[in-house]
Structures are given as structure tokens and as C-alpha cells.
């Protein structure tokens, strides 16, 4: 498992709660992003030029690493839990069954043991989902989407020179790719492509795009042995994520559409913990105290779909993309609170704010007026809307 971004809002929340991400866990602190389009790019910085986003490795990091110079984020969290008194049992769970109305967990090579509450925090690419479905309380796994992720080893110096401490986001005319990002880490850059039908040809055409090629040193080509995978991501919530004494948190429950999965796991896990500590572990308790957070994320994802549909329309039109770039570039001269388009793009692509909040801000009359004005200018200059086509 390689990915990992801790969003701006989560970095701040963890700091307030007394959880500080050490330098050897954070692979690269991000202070800006560059939005690449077929019409050009624009550089947007965080308020106060502060490094507010953390990129990190999960687990053992990318394939083929000979020397580990970092500490895993997962290990950091487990050690914090240990420090608070939790007993961590590193074992593979084979089965969960009901015995005397309590969940009983069987780990490989160990005697089954009953527990008062089972919190399942697994991803959508594991057999953990089957364990939940087999419990028979009505759990149905979330809808998923195939992604493409590759970790490209370029070395610290090259990454600093070519990517810096910026996230690189792509709004290209390729209709198969909903979202693409380059996330610089220590010696690696993580390439992440999300879309409904990402196949080999689509990945090849993405890397051939001049906007993408321009991010890499000249003559560079993707190595054949780069660590790559096509994992599924959660794009729709699980049905019935809890029952008496069982609750699903994180990806196996609900996540945020396309980004901030760690932030969603933090919110759902905290909601489950609050319910168990302050109310109880029955289905009614989870109904009352866990379901509202769950539903909020679900509703917000629906608004996220509206936003991504809108960005899909924008990216197919050279005039709209050109307008978006112009508005964003022009507002860099304004005070930070007046940079509306930058704020919308930043929050949409980094997962730093709720989609509902972003949608509301994107409909600000001044922003809409400026956007339309620039579209008209772009059309006058000869740019037009292109029809929807296939990949590449």
C-alpha cells in the first residue's frame, strides 16, 4: 500500500488534538499546487505560504525500496494507540462469527475470542469486506472505481527541481480521466489517475500529453519496473455499516469522493468511538450518533459528483479552461480571502473542505460573472467547445 495524503484540514485537526506528524513520517510538506491544463498552467499558493499538506507512505512504501529512510504513518498511529493503553495484536483475522450475541474473532493460529465491540477499518481491496457481509446483519460493500497508481523513483534532487513542494493537478481534455495528480514524496513521485474506464491505453495517452510530459525532465520515460497498481477506491457508501456491537469505519463504510480518504476515516472512526464511549454499542446508539456523520459524508459526496460533473464540462471546453486559468491567474494579485476561484480549486482538488461548501462558493455571483466574461473573451479569440470524445 503506497498512497497517502493528509489534507490541510486533517493536518490542522490532528495538531489541535496533539498529534504532530514528524518529519520522518511526512515525505514532503506541500505549500502550493499547480493546475495543468491543455491551455497552460497556474500556480496557487497556500495562505501565508505555509506547508499545510502532508504526503506520506503507508505501510512498507513502494516496491523495490532498498533502504527505508522514513517511518510509516500506520506505525505512527499504532504506536500512539499503544501509548494511550491499547493492546495491539498483529494478526490476520480469518473469521468473525456471532456467539451468545457477541462477535467472536478468529485470528490465524489463535483461539477465537469474544469482544464487546468490533470496529472494522479495512479498505475496499481486502477480504475484510466478506467477513462483514458474512455476519448477516445486512452489510453491503461500497461501490468502487478502478484507479491507476504508480510510484516513480526520481530521487530527491530531481523531484525538488521538477516538482518542488507543489502538488500537480491535471484538468485535461481526456474524458476518461476524472482526476489526475502528481504527489511529490521523498525520492518518489506518486501518479494517481481516477476515472470510470482507465485502461493501459488511457494511461499511455495521459503520459504522452504535452502538459504531462512537461512536468518531467526531457527524454524521461516511465520505467518498466516502476511500482504500479490498479486498486479500487470507494465511490459510494456501504449499506447498513453497523449493527449491535459491530461498526465499519473508513473506506469499508463511507469515504470522501476521490480524496481525503484518511480524513474521512478519521471522522467516521471518531464518531464510532464517541458513540461507544458516551452512549453505547447497540445499533440504536450508532443510529443516533454515528449515522448523522455517515449521512453527512454521503450527502456531501453527492454534491461532489455535481462539482466533478461541472469540472468535466469545463475541461472539455478550451474556452472554459482558458477562462478558468485567466480568472485564477488574475486573482493572485488580490488579498487571499478574495481569491475565490483559487479557493474553490484548492479545496476541490485537495479535499480540504466539504463539497457542499465548495459548491456554494463556486456559485458566488462575482466569480460566475468573471468566469462568464472570460469565456466570452476566449470565444472571441477563437476558442470553442469541443465535442465529447474517447480516450486519447
Amino acid at each position: 500500500m503506497c498512497g497517502g495524503i493528509v489534507s490541510e484540514s486533517l493536518v490542522q485537526a490532528l495538531a489541535v488534538e496533539g498529534i504532530h506528524l514528524p518529519d520522518d513520517v511526512v515525505q514532503r510538506a506541500i505549500d502550493s499546487y499547480i493546475l495543468h491544463t491543455n491551455q497552460g498552467n497556474v500556480h496557487i499558493e497556500t495562505p501565508h505560504n505555509e506547508k499545510r499538506i502532508a504526503t506520506l507512505h503507508r505501510g512498507a512504501g513502494p516496491k523495490g525500496v532498498s533502504k527505508t529512510l522514513w517511518k510509516s504513518f500506520d506505525a505512527l498511529l499504532l504506536n500512539l494507540a499503544r501509548g494511550e493503553g491499547a493492546r495491539v495484536l498483529p494478526a490476520r483475522v480469518c473469521d468473525i462469527v456471532w456467539r451468545d450475541k457477541r462477535p467472536e474473532i478468529e485470528c490465524r493460529g489463535k483461539e477465537p475470542r469474544p469482544y464487546d465491540l468490533v470496529v472494522v477499518a479495512c479498505g475496499v481491496n481486502t477480504s475484510g469486506l466478506r467477513l462483514l457481509e458474512n455476519l448477516g446483519f445486512g452489510y453491503r460493500r461500497p461501490q468502487t472505481m478502478q484507479t491507476f497508481i504508480t510510484e516513480i523513483m526520481l530521487g530527491r534532487k530531481t523531484i525538488q527541481e521538477w516538482f518542488g513542494s507543489s502538488m500537480h493537478l491535471f484538468l485535461l481534455s481526456n474524458p476518461s480521466i476524472e482526476f489526475a495528480a502528481f504527489i511529490p514524496k521523498g525520492d518518489f513521485v506518486t501518479v494517481c489517475l481516477l476515472g470510470r474506464s482507465i485502461d493501459r491505453a488511457c494511461v499511455r495517452s495521459f503520459f504522452k500529453d504535452p502538459a504531462v510530459r512537461g512536468c518531467f525532465p526531457p527524454m524521461w520515460r516511465i520505467p518498466d519496473d516502476a511500482c504500479r497498481c490498479s486498486p479500487k477506491i470507494n465511490v459510494g457508501e456501504a449499506i447498513r455499516p453497523y449493527a449491535d456491537r459491530v461498526v465499519a469505519v473508513g473506506d469499508c463504510g463511507v469515504s470522501r469522493l476521490y480524496k481525503d480518504g484518511i480524513g474521512a476515516a478519521y471522522r467516521t472512526a471518531k464518531a464510532a468511538a464517541r458513540t461507544a464511549i458516551f452512549s453505547g454499542v447497540s445499533a440504536q446508539d450508532f443510529d443516533r450518533h454515528y449515522a448523522p456523520i455517515y449521512s453527512h459524508l454521503r450527502r456531501d459526496n453527492w454534491l461532489g459528483r455535481v462539482l466533478f460533473s461541472a469540472s468535466g464540462i469545463v475541461k472539455r471546453s478550451p474556452a472554459s479552461v482558458s477562462s478558468l486559468l485567466c480568472v485564477t491567474a488574475e486573482e493572485q494579485k488580490l488579498p487571499f480571502e478574495k481569491r475565490r476561484m483559487s479557493g474553490v480549486l484548492w479545496d476541490m482538488f485537495t479535499g480540504s473542505a466539504a463539497y457542499g461548501d465548495i459548491l456554494r462558493r463556486s456559485m458566488h455571483p462575482a466569480l460566475a460573472a468573471s468566469f462568464v466574461q472570460h469565456i466570452v473573451r476566449a470565444c472571441d479569440a477563437g476558442l470553442e467547445i469541443v465535442p465529447k470524445g474517447g480516450c486519447g
Binding site: 490542522q12 485537526a13 489541535v16 488534538e17 495562505p47 521523498g186 471518531k270
Partner: protein
């Protein structure tokens, strides 16, 4: 150079927040030290030194008030800003989010109580014996009891 350093680097003597200014952010010290100073006319009264993990600026964030003190960097520091809007949203969703801050504020009130008790004692000593230097007198048995109770 470490690439994983979050927050913003501040140099020695740099002012992070200024007394009397309106603030929309709270700050967390990630490394280094800052000193909290109350300005009274031309005079600077040092109130506290804050180090790694401690927060400041929370009063302006919780109430709609101006900064009550100036915060200046004492040794090269790295500081993370926490935005008011995001903070209040988190508190609304999860009131336990502020437990850590309440704990810190409670510790500060405890320290302030000790300081008030010490100053009161000096004032009393001074009232009883105007010529004595109460500040250099050994602590009274009562003060020791207050300290012990506060620490417990």
C-alpha cells in the same frame, strides 16, 4: 534539508501575532519556542514561554476579540496555523475535539492561580511590613499548601 517539515519557519525575534490585532487563526508550535508578551505602554511584560505542541491565539478564535498579547519567536520556530472556520466546524461536529485545548487552558489557569496567590502573598506581606522585601522572603506554609493542592 528535511522535506517533511509542516507549517512555516519563523526566525528569532519575529512577531507571529500582535496584541490588539484582530485574528482569525490559532497557532500550534511544531518546534522551537515562542514568548508571550503583554505590552503595557512602552513596557513589555513576559507572560509565558511556549514550546512544542502548545497552542496560542485560541482566545481570539473562540471569542470575537482582538489578540490579548503579542507572541514573539524566542528560538527559531516552526508554527502551524489553524483556521477559525475549519476549527469551529470541527467543534460543532465533535465537541471532544477541543479536549486537548481545554486541558492546556486549564493548565494555564492553574499556573495563573499560583501566580495570583504569590502576588497576593507579596501584597499582604508588604501591607503588614512595608519595609520588608516580601519577594525574597521564604515561601509561607500556606503557599506550599496551595502549590501542593494545585499540583494534585
Amino acid at each position: 534539508m528535511r522535506m517533511g517539515r509542516l507549517g512555516k519557519e519563523y526566525e528569532l525575534g519575529e512577531i507571529v501575532v500582535r496584541q490588539g490585532e484582530y485574528g482569525n487563526e490559532m497557532y500550534v508550535v511544531l518546534s522551537g519556542e515562542v514568548e508571550v508578551i503583554r505590552q503595557s505602554g512602552e513596557e513589555e511584560i513576559p507572560l509565558a514561554t511556549l514550546g512544542k505542541g502548545q497552542v496560542f491565539g485560541e482566545m481570539a478564535l473562540l471569542g470575537d476579540t482582538t489578540r490579548s498579547a503579542t507572541v514573539r519567536v524566542k528560538s527559531k520556530a516552526r508554527i502551524l496555523t489553524v483556521d477559525k472556520k475549519g476549527f469551529l466546524k470541527k467543534v460543532h461536529e465533535d465537541p471532544s475535539f477541543v479536549f486537548n485545548i481545554l486541558q492546556m487552558m486549564s493548565d494555564r489557569i492553574r499556573e495563573m492561580d499560583k501566580e495570583i496567590a504569590r502576588l497576593k502573598a507579596i501584597e499582604l506581606e508588604h501591607a503588614e511590613c512595608p519595609g520588608c522585601d516580601a519577594a525574597s522572603a521564604p515561601p509561607r506554609e500556606e503557599d506550599a499548601r496551595i502549590d501542593k493542592a494545585d499540583d494534585g
